[in-house]
């Protein structure tokens, strides 16, 4: 049951993220980007942990049972750092653009079109 819920929520987050990223409003697009990244981080969580496995390093493992994959957590931490960097950079750009163009509507930010 929980796996189904997990899969559904990853899928929904992915959908919401893509939808938001394609919005005309750049702030919403930036937030959509953050949502997409969390969808992928959750996907990584799903890759590493299975039912009946113990948390790595913190629990005593019964004989014949496995711990879940600790590498995944390191990967997610790195991915969070990377996504945080990109997200703040995007927000910074949107901030400067909103002051320079007086709008965050991507349809009006079209000075490159000659």
């Amino acid at each position: 049951m929980i796996e189904l819920l997990f899969a559904l929520s990853i899928g929904m987050l992915f959908g919401i993220g893509v939808f938001q990223l394609l919005r005309r409003d750049l702030v919403k697009a930036a937030i959509g980007f953050a949502i997409l990244f969390s969808a992928i981080n959750l996907f990584f969580v799903a890759v590493g942990a299975f039912e009946g496995e113990f948390a790595p390093y913190v629990s005593n493992v019964e004989a014949g049972r496995q711990t879940s994959d600790p590498l995944i957590q390191a990967l997610i931490l790195t991915a969070i750092v990377v996504s945080f960097g990109s997200f703040s950079l995007v927000l910074g750009f949107v901030n400067i653009i909103s002051r320079r163009y007086d709008t965050v509507d991507s349809n009006d930010i079209n000075k490159l079109k000659h």
């Binding site: 990223l21 980007f33 992928i40 990967l75 995007v90 750009f93 930010i109």
Partner: protein, 501 residues
């Protein structure tokens, strides 16, 4: 497994350089000297690596002495070593250009550290043997180059940077998703280990999907047809040395990834992927050449031309034969040198106008004010890009076309030769407009002093030296590279994994 510290050195030197440049942020000159020094040391490391790879096979370095497939491993095989050598050489040209560049953005304390971080990302992406590390380095490179474009003197730089970072992040997400899919199926991120599992013929459900996602991410980084629309804006608005690096070596990261995909990871799926590469490459050649022909800005023309030249490389990879692969790699190598020097030269031309624009309307007829050698360099670079016989572009085009004749793919060959003629047309026309025309009455004010010619001159000399005088050993080196690429087992066993059962 022996630890080769040169690998670590090539990667860490620019990183230390970036940190030192941040520490000495008060003095621009010192920052630039540190950057050039770091670039030179990394270059020496890469040359040492290349000779070692050539003499004694694939070199590896396990970070923190964690043995593969558990730890992160740096690998320099013939392809990675060659590309890293190309990156560091061209990067020195870009770093030297910053010394005598009058752009305002070069004086920002963040410029040099970001430039060096871009180099770290590039070298790291080419020397890593771990998929997740590849993602991290590619993201580092993207973030650094985006920030550099956003602080450009060109007022539209920010807009182009925002456009690119949104598109590129989307691509990075799919790269990450593909990596996650591979990890879910194979439980490792080590490229050699994944390749070993795939060689046994196991095809889990997620593996082909991962192949497509990785391919799309790499195509996006190389600005190939359906993902190309950001490229002309982004490459045009970047500061001159940055745009030269973007259009020459940053797009090659995607090419490098694609070569890895079809020769190491997904060998069985390669024919399917290669069919796509050929088609997309041909579309790129057509639209890039035509776009370059009718554009209004010299830098933008070169950006469109990159779009076309990447198409040539992809068609070469798409043919899939060793001969065509040799052609593609030589092409990638020569294109990086020619395109970077041409973009730096156009930057020098543009720096003589007060607006620093490379619009043909502004720089037409500027030739009288420029040093005469500049005209000759632009002409040589343009003809070399088009592949006119004594120059190095000819050798790369010839080997590529030989590969096509070998495959008897006549329809694509006709388009490629036609695109070569288009290249002559737009390059010679640009040269005529700048250096042969009388100044237009509406031409903007010019300055007596522009950027220094030294860096592009150096790059073009190195390019001609490597591409013509040393063409024979270069082709031998690249044939050796392709021979090594033909046998994925060489890479796998070098990372100290037993062959597949």
């Amino acid at each position: 497994m022996e630890q080769n510290y040169f690998l670590l050195g090539a990667l860490v030197t620019p990183l230390i350089g970036a940190i030192l440049a941040l520490v000495f942020a008060s003095s621009n000159r010192l920052q630039r000297s540190i950057a050039v020094l770091a670039g030179l040391i990394a270059w020496v490391f890469c040359i040492a690596l290349l000779t070692q790879v050539h003499d004694s096979g694939v070199q590896t370095y396990a970070l923190g002495n964690w043995k593969p497939p558990y730890g992160i491993v740096l690998v320099a095989d013939a392809l990675g070593g060659l590309f890293a050598f190309m990156v560091t050489t061209i990067m020195i040209g870009g770093l030297l250009y910053t010394f005598h560049c009058r752009d305002k953005c070069m004086t920002y304390p963040a410029f040099v550290p970001l430039f060096l971080l871009m180099e770290v990302g590039l070298i790291g992406a080419m020397l890593t043997g771990d998929l997740f590390t590849l993602f991290v380095f590619m993201e580092l490179m993207v973030l650094a180059s985006v920030s550099l474009t956003a602080i450009s003197d060109d007022q539209y730089g920010l807009e182009a940077a925002l456009k690119y970072i949104l598109i590129s992040s989307m691509g990075t997400l799919f790269l990450l998703l593909g990596i996650g899919a591979l990890y879910a199926t194979f439980g490792t991120l080590n490229m050699a280990e994944i390749a070993r599992s795939l060689l046994t013929g196991v095809r889990p459900f997620l593996a082909p999907a991962a192949a497509i996602m990785l391919l799309c991410a790499f195509l996006l980084k190389s600005a190939v047809f359906p993902f190309h629309f950001w490229q002309p804006d982004f490459h045009t608005t970047a500061p001159t040395p940055v745009s030269a690096m973007l259009s020459s070596i940053v797009v090659k990261v995607g090419v490098y990834g694609i070569i890895r995909l079809v020769t190491l990871l997904f060998i069985e799926e390669a024919p399917f992927l290669e069919r796509w590469l050929s088609t997309l490459g041909i579309i790129g050649i057509l639209f890039g050449s035509l776009g370059a022909l009718r554009t209004y800005n010299a830098k933008r023309m070169l950006a469109y031309s990159t779009f076309a030249q990447i198409g040539f490389i992809l068609v070469g990879i798409g043919w899939g034969t060793p001969l065509a692969m040799i052609g593609a790699i030589i092409y990638a190598f020569n294109h990086a040198f020619i395109k970077s020097s041409l973009l730096l030269l156009m930057g020098v031309v543009a720096s003589f106008t007060t607006t620093k624009s490379a619009n043909f309307a502004d720089i037409s007829g500027l030739g009288g004010k420029l040093p005469p050698v500049l005209g000759w360099l632009v002409l040589i670079g343009g003809l070399s890009l088009a592949g006119i016989p004594p120059l190095n572009g000819f050798i790369s085009k010839l080997t590529l076309i030989q590969g096509g004749v070998d495959r008897a793919d006549w329809a694509n060959l006709i388009i490629m030769v036609a695109a070569g003629i288009l290249t002559v047309m737009y390059m010679v026309r640009a040269w005529q407009r700048i250096f042969q025309q009388n100044p237009l009455p509406a031409t903007v004010d010019t300055k007596d002093q522009g950027d220094s010619l030294f860096a592009p001159l150096l790059l073009i000399v190195v390019c001609l030296l490597l591409g013509t005088v040393l063409a024979e050993p270069m082709i031998q080196l690249i044939s050796e590279t392709v021979r090594q690429l033909g046998d994925a087992q060489i890479y796998i066993s070098a990372v100290n994994l037993p062959p597949p059962a």
